[in-house]
């Protein structure tokens, strides 16, 4: 098994290189000249040419890619074109709100969606199942910003229980931090919960038809153990897969959610940088998101071997 895990880790290296290449060329190919952005509106053509030369923008594509990769290897993500701050420092300032949003959302979604899906499968065809299914369809089809504004309107504006928007760092008190995160987390998790619930229901329903479930019943095993040990463990491969795929959904959702709730996280930084054409920052953030996604998938592959002993490549 360790050989398998090691092989999987090694296999992610070329994947990450390809991701880096795509991220780099995406920005290379987009119209707009960073030099012109830096030079400002009143710059002459000579100014722009000088800045281009300074930035190395006249070098051939592959050389620029190589230089970029080499500096990333040394954890140098470059300098922002506008603020002149190191990009790594800018990301460092913005990462806490985003992690505070995404990690609790992930945990909340899994803790709600998996039991919900299992119950729907157990009660398949009954009112309980229909209710859960309708809820899941709704959660998936209503856009994130609509869910967000609806929650703000009811819980903050009408009931006044929670702050409307903003973010309080965890260092300034856990309770304030928590209050500011309740609505964003609920907003972000709605689609994610819907997705995991649906897949869990389908996977568990299929497993419940299997012979070994009947064997467990014939042994006199209780309902909970049948559902959550015998069935869920067998159904977990597709569930884990969708939890992983859903991380991409979370990343996209975080950008929108941070805008709706005015949270100064990476999502907002992405938006701001795109509007300002701050290329080094955009590159670094997209690369960061992509690599976290590759790592999540690596974790999923490793998780498979723990839930299903038959998986060996």
């Amino acid at each position: 098994m360790y050989a398998y895990i090691l092989r999987r880790i090694l296999a992610t290296i070329p994947v990450m290189l390809i991701v880096a290449f795509i991220v780099f060329s995406l920005l290379y190919l987009t119209p707009g000249d960073p030099a012109a952005v830096i030079a400002g509106e009143h710059a002459t053509a000579e100014d722009i040419a000088r800045i281009r030369a300074n930035l190395g923008l006249n070098d051939p594509f592959l050389l620029r890619f190589g230089t970029w990769i080499a500096s990333i290897m040394q954890f140098d993500l470059g300098t922002s074109l506008l603020t002149n701050m190191p990009v790594s420092q800018m990301i460092g300032q913005r990462i806490e709100p985003t992690l505070s949003l995404m990690l609790p959302t992930l945990i909340l979604a899994v803790c709600i969606a998996v039991p919900l899906g299992v119950i729907a499968a157990w009660r398949a065809g009954t009112k309980v199942d229909h209710f859960i299914t309708v809820f899941a369809v709704l959660g998936f089809s209503v856009p994130v910003f609509v869910v967000g504004y609806a929650l703000v309107w009811s819980f903050s504006l009408k009931l006044g229980w929670l702050p409307v928007q903003g973010y309080a760092p965890i260092g300034q008190g856990v309770s304030r931090w928590f209050q500011h995160l309740v609505l964003p987390c609920l907003t972000l998790s709605s689609a994610y919960i819907a997705l995991i619930t649906r897949i869990t229901r389908t996977a568990v329903l299929e497993v419940l038809q299997q012979d070994y479930i009947r064997t467990a019943e014939a042994k006199g095993v209780g309902r909970h153990a049948i559902l959550f040990v015998h069935a869920l463990k067998n159904a977990s491969v597709p569930i884990i897969t969708v939890i992983g795929i859903g991380v991409a959904l979370l990343i996209g959702g975080a950008v929108v959610t941070e805008s709706v709730f005015a949270i100064p996280g990476l999502g907002r930084l992405t938006m701001e940088s795109i509007l300002r054409r701050d290329y080094p920052v955009i590159q670094a953030i997209v690369l960061l998101f992509s690599i976290s996604y590759v790592l999540v998938n690596l974790l999923i592959d490793i998780a498979y071997t723990f839930v299903d002993p038959r998986i060996r490549y």
Binding site: A216, E217, G220, V221, A225, P309, R310
Partner: protein, 621 residues
């Protein structure tokens, strides 16, 4: 069935299970169709009662009803089921759960799918003990180890941490039995526990159940379709036919003086080993009318295929091995020697049966001949073509001469394609004619295999298992093949359906002169259909010869063991504990540098060769 036919036996104090007027219906809200009607029988303490019948006769439904394992929403149970004096049908779900696995336990047919693939053997064994006996984890595991020893699984300690996929079919069924016996139930319900297993493993499992019953004081309700197994194990027998109980008697009486026509028909429709003694050529199964019990003897064949003609299939020194890779660099760490130095030939109009236990390489031999698996070395000549080197148009020509039918007629037909287009496909694929010509031929071939032309526009799910296998045969016939490789083609079918399909194959052979390579583990079917037999063990042919030579004068210890393991449907010939030591099939996995032993063959008669065996068989011979 009226009560006068089956006077309810007096329920005595030592009756463990008493079933009265049991009716089970399937359906929903307003339409309920009874599938089991008015069943009544008793199982006494320490007694073994067999429930016998074909699929669809309601025997498994009866067993599941007793355990109340039928889905609540779509089934309804009426009548009375007394287990140790308590009516199971009146128990609340909690009490029923406490009873299952404790007072009554069940073993299922499919050991491959009845164990949870992602939980360890130890966990699954310990589970029942933890639920019913309140044991701690460590105590339960210790007990699980003892149980594994009791069902004679070697290296029990190591097995506890393993998963079902690490174990062979026979081992898994032993684990199932160990699991059922964990809480020392008063009643064991065994639903076709040996049907999916090889005969030698079946004999061991039957021995095991008998032995455990003897020292545990346990009653057994044994569900089976195999009259041989019934004769072997049951004290009393309940015969079921299409949901009705047609006869309940002592097993000897069932065999000696069957009262009901169906009971009379049943043993006649079952292939019985030894029934062909003294007959040189294959003989079709007698046609048995299940309703009246009338038996129509088959016509005897007239001529044997001449073996001096050019052979349709000639296989010389065939070797097929699979690499096993492991470790960080995926290096080859060993090889499966699936087929080792196999040689045989089949003449026109001849059937060669390839027999042996699962894992002996008989299917791989078939697949290598079809080139579905690439052999390592050896020569294969099909209808004059060298199968290993033929390319291009000749390869297509050769593929037309050799067709294959598989074991599972359910999964070998495309569920979304109409039968007509499934059958026509090979014909059109080989460009043998227009679509209209193909359809004409399809209709003709369907008639040949005993199906109406209306089958063309229907889908696979609208046919029974036997009909589907006929469709698969029809598809193979579309290319007018010289040879059909039939890989366990009748193993999954019901007894009477099996007889019909075997008869069809023999009929086609007589009229079209087709040769068959009949791959099977079922000795009693082989005895009917084969002209010649090759016995395989661990990838090698250990004995080959005419059917009479193999069945009436077996030489190799393995052939002898294979034949003696087949249960005989006659309770007076009941064997004691079988002489053969419980031996698992040895593994054909070898290290990379393994060089197969040079084998020599001894000629017993003109068409009968046996491998010279070594000391490993001495204890048996």
């Amino acid at each position: 069935m009226s009560d006068t036919l089956h006077p309810a036996p007096e329920t005595t104090s030592d009756t463990v299970l008493s079933v009265r007027d049991l009716t089970v219906s399937f359906g929903s809200a307003d339409y309920w169709k009874p599938v089991v009607r008015n069943i009544s029988f008793d199982v006494g303490a320490n007694e073994t009662v067999a429930v016998v019948g074909e699929s669809g006769s309601g025997k498994s439904v009866t067993a599941l009803a007793i355990m109340r394992l039928l889905p609540k929403a779509t089934s309804r149970i009426n009548g009375q089921i007394l287990l140790n004096g308590r009516d199971v049908l009146d128990l609340p779900p909690q009490a029923m759960q406490a009873l299952r696995g404790d007072e009554a336990a069940m073993v299922f047919q499919e050991p491959m799918t009845s164990l949870n693939p992602v939980l360890t053997i130890g966990f699954q064994l310990a589970e029942a003990l933890k639920w019913h006996r309140d044991l701690s984890n460590a105590e339960a595991l210790a007990e699980a180890r003892r149980l594994l020893n009791r069902v004679r699984i070697p290296a029990a300690e190591r097995r506890l941490a393993e998963y079902p996929h690490n174990l062979s079919g026979g081992m898994r069924q032993r684990v199932m039995i160990a699991m059922a016996l964990a809480c020392r139930p008063k009643l064991l319900i065994a639903d076709e526990p040996t049907t999916a297993l090889d005969v030698t493993i079946q004999a061991q499992i039957l021995d095991l159940i008998r032995e455990l019953q003897a020292d545990g004081g346990m009653s057994v309700l044994f569900i089976t379709h195999d009259m041989g197994v019934v004769a072997e194990i049951a004290d009393r027998t309940v015969v079921m036919f299409r949901g009705d109980q047609v006869e309940t008697e002592r097993t000897e009486t069932i065999f000696r003086q069957p009262a009901h026509p169906y009971t009379r028909a049943l043993p006649a429709s079952v292939p019985r080993l030894g029934s062909m003694r003294g007959t040189e050529l294959p003989v079709p199964f007698p046609k048995v009318d299940m309703e009246t019990g009338a038996i129509q003897e088959p016509e005897k064949p007239t001529a044997a295929p001449a073996r001096y003609q050019p052979m349709v299939l000639d296989v010389q020194n065939l070797v097929t091995r699979f690499d096993i890779r492991s470790g960080l660099l995926n290096r080859i760490s060993g090889r499966v020697h699936a087929v080792e130095n196999v040689s045989f030939s089949i003449a026109e109009g001849e059937t060669l049966a390839l027999v042996g236990e699962s894992g002996c390489g008989k299917s791989t031999t078939g697949r290598s001949i079809m080139r579905l698996t690439e052999p390592v070395s050896g020569s294969i000549t099909v209808d004059g073509f060298d199968a290993k080197s033929v390319r291009g148009p000749d390869l297509r020509r050769m593929r037309r001469s050799i067709q294959m039918i598989f074991q599972d007629p359910f999964s070998s037909l495309n569920p979304r394609a109409r039968i007509g287009s499934s059958i026509a496909e090979p014909f059109l694929e080989h460009g043998l004619g227009t679509r209209a010509e193909a359809m004409e031929k399809v209709a003709e071939i369907l008639r040949r295999v005993g199906l109406g032309p209306d089958a063309i526009d229907r889908f696979p799910h609208q046919f029974s298992g036997g009909q589907r296998q006929r469709i698969c045969i029809a598809r193979a016939l579309m290319l007018d093949p010289k040879l059909i490789v039939a890989d366990e083609s009748v193993s999954a079918l019901d007894v009477s359906v099996k007889a019909q399909v075997v008869n069809l194959m023999m009929e086609l052979q007589a009229s079209l002169g087709i040769s068959f390579l009949f791959i099977s583990h079922d000795m009693s079917v082989v005895e009917r259909i084969a002209h010649r037999v090759a016995v395989m063990y661990l990838g090698e042919i250990v004995e080959i010869g005419s059917r009479t030579a193999i069945f009436e004068n077996p030489q190799h210890p393995y052939t002898k063991r294979l034949l003696s393991a087949v249960p005989i449907p006659d309770p007076t010939l009941r064997r004691g504990p079988s002489a053969a030591a419980p031996l698992e099939l040895k593994s054909p996995i070898r290290s990379i540098d393994y060089v197969p032993q040079k084998r020599e063959f001894r000629e017993i008669s003109a068409d009968h060769k046996v491998q010279v065996w070594g000391s490993e068989w001495e204890t048996e011979a």
